[in-house]
């Protein structure tokens, strides 16, 4: 009898144990390779040129605000390549290369199991209406990180006027990058050829969000056009190959625009759950994505809910890494999206999720971030960059004395001639100039080192100082440029 009872208990324990496992473990393997579509058809090349819109598809999202998922199991997508001038910051008109005629390219939204039927005409040889083509036409290609296909077939470069078409099935959920893969890839990405593909799990997300936005971080490496061309009276900027190779951008931005989502915050209401699809394009910098004032309730690395973290403050994203982050809006306010590498934030990687359509100026002063107004004159831009990379150890702009003087207001204290001579050879000035000698005494006899600046660099510094002094009090700051 006792043996029978014991057997029953053991049997019950096994059944309960099995039930418990069934309750917590999915019975269906969502990553069953045998059920994935890994037999794409060959790409088709043609000389039939698309005309009309540069981007077409019900699953495409042209702005940060995402539309609900298009239920169609086959997504027809057209993303043509163009060359055009875009505004990456106030007064900074940059000669860009695009997918779908915008930077970043449109965001594709689909679901695991969906088929993407893609086509692209290289229209880099077309003049975009109203805007002169600034870069010579060239070959381009499309590399979808969301696809599992032969790169040699699907991602081949196509010449201006050629159209490539191919299709693939989405096998994994995530937030995937797409980009041009034509050499030099670094140039093509840095010129604006990238975007995101959101692939939802087949069964949808495990939470319900009130708002969904895509946030794409990227870098720009811009320099004034050597040919001094202008667009609408403003100087044209072109890709700076030297700073690109050194990975020293001068703009790091969300959704293609310096401080863009500060002026146009992403709306939300108190008590709502916000879901951000965050992609760091790079091409060369990591992002420490953070939202000031809240905590990420959920983080799904690379956009896959199976890769979940809870209660995170910051998510670290390498180039082409992504995450879905969700958080609650606890009370009215402007919640500040930043790259917590603050050198990047100071270059424009900042935005707001706000309960107010027009946030108060004081909301933007947190961490002095919105105060980072930027000059547009090429010399001043160069001067700002040089100052932020070389001078901040000893000087500040409007933050008070350090080892050396606060340089806010310096152009009203000193003449341009004096500043130029001082920057050229401070050692000589310290021997002959009374003001220089007095300054040395005031600053504990710590001399200004001779930086061996060229005349052009000195001009850039002086122009930058003038720009600083032309800003409203406290508006211009300088942040260390790593």
């Amino acid at each position: 009898m006792r043996m029978k009872a014991l057997t029953s208990w053991v049997f019950m324990a096994i059944v309960l144990s099995a039930c418990g496992r069934n309750a917590s473990t999915p019975t269906v393997d969502r990553y069953d390779i045998s059920k994935m579509d890994l037999k794409p058809t060959p790409a088709v090349l043609s000389t039939e040129r698309h005309t009309g819109p540069f981007a077409i598809g019900a699953s495409l999202n042209m702005t940060a605000e995402l539309k609900p998922l298009d239920p169609s199991p086959v997504k027809e997508i057209r993303l043509d390549t163009t060359h055009k001038v875009i505004d990456i910051a106030p007064g900074i008109k940059f000669s860009a290369w695009t997918f779908g005629d915008q930077v970043p390219g449109p965001t594709v939204r689909a679901r695991v199991g969906d088929k993407i039927r893609f086509s692209m005409t290289n229209r880099s040889d077309e003049t975009v209406p109203g805007i002169q083509v600034m870069q010579a036409p060239m070959m381009h290609s499309m590399d979808f990180h969301a696809a599992m296909v032969s790169p040699q077939d699907k991602y081949r470069s196509v010449a201006p006027g050629q159209t490539i078409s191919f299709e693939f099935t989405l096998n994994y959920p995530g937030v995937f990058m797409y980009h041009c893969g034509t050499p030099m890839i670094l140039e093509h990405i840095a010129s604006g050829m990238y975007g995101a593909v959101i692939v939802e799990p087949r069964e949808g997300y495990p939470t319900k969000a009130s708002r969904e936005y895509v946030v794409i971080q990227s870098e720009f490496y811009a320099k004034p056009d050597p040919d001094k061309r202008k667009i609408d009276g403003a100087p044209l900027y072109v890709l700076d190959g030297d700073s690109l190779r050194k990975a020293t951008p001068n703009y790091t931005v969300f959704n293609g625009s310096h401080n863009g989502m500060v002026n146009n915050p992403l709306p939300a209401k108190t008590g709502e759950r916000v879901r951000l699809f965050v992609l760091n394009v790079g091409p060369s910098k990591t992002s420490s994505f953070h939202v000031v004032g809240t905590i990420f309730d959920r983080v799904w690395m690379d956009g896959n809910p199976d890769n979940q973290f809870r209660g995170m403050q910051t998510v670290l994203l390498g180039s082409s890494n992504s995450a879905i982050v969700e958080f609650l809006i606890p009370e009215d306010g402007s919640y500040i999206m930043v790259d917590h590498h603050f050198a990047n934030a100071s270059q424009g990687a900042i935005g707001l999720v706000s309960t107010s359509a027009k946030p108060l100026a004081k909301d933007l002063e947190h961490h002095n971030m919105a105060a980072t107004a930027s000059p547009t004159d090429p010399d001043s831009v160069m001067g700002k960059q040089a100052f932020e990379s070389k001078c901040l150890a000893c000087h500040s702009i409007g933050q008070g004395k350090k080892v050396g003087p606060d340089l806010s207001g310096v152009t009203s204290r000193r003449s341009d001639d004096w500043l130029s001579r001082w920057l050229k050879s401070p050692d000589k000035m310290l021997q002959t100039d009374a003001d220089a000698k007095a300054m040395l005494k005031e600053y504990n006899n710590v001399p200004m080192p001779n930086q061996n600046l060229s005349d052009a660099e000195i001009t850039q510094y002086v122009k930058y100082f003038h720009w600083v002094d032309a800003q409203p009090a406290g508006k211009a700051t300088a942040t260390e440029n790593h």
């Binding site: 870069q135 036409p137 040699q152 081949r156 470069s157 034509t182 050499p183 030099m184 670094l186 190779r245």
Partner: protein, 130 residues
């Protein structure tokens, strides 16, 4: 044009034929050539490329001195090990052109292999497709 045809280091896989072609694709050269019913040939280079003994300009000079080649049309990418040129098919056949270019570059320990030829806009053809 210099903007489109910059002298940056190789920063991509460059594995695909089209990627190699992209490294030396110059739209102005292509447009001019096709307007005059000339053709543009894209070659892969192998051997002592990018060793310092054969600079890009030196290889371009060899290409430009090859009979039938449109002057100033040669583009070379050491990183992608590719060369492109425009030529007049009335003045020289492709076979003669290839032979002459091969002989000249062989003296520099460089071999060439044709990748694609463009004789119409937006059409990259293999030699057998022409």
């Amino acid at each position: 044009m210099a903007l489109a045809f910059s002298d940056m280091n190789a920063l991509a896989c460059g594995f695909c034929i089209e990627d190699k072609i992209a490294a030396v694709y110059d739209h102005a050269v292509v447009s001019t050539a096709l307007t005059h019913k000339h053709q543009v040939a894209f070659f892969a280079l192998a051997g002592e490329v990018a060793t310092g003994t054969n600079s890009r300009r030196e290889i371009e000079a060899v290409g430009n001195a090859t009979p039938g080649v449109d002057k100033g049309s040669v583009r070379v990418s050491l990183e992608a090990a590719t060369l492109s040129l425009a030529y007049d098919p009335v003045r020289t056949s492709f076979a003669s052109l290839e032979d002459a270019l091969s002989r000249k570059l062989a003296a520099r320990r460089i071999s060439v292999a044709i990748l694609r030829i463009m004789d119409r806009p937006a059409e990259l053809k293999s030699v057998t497709q022409r």
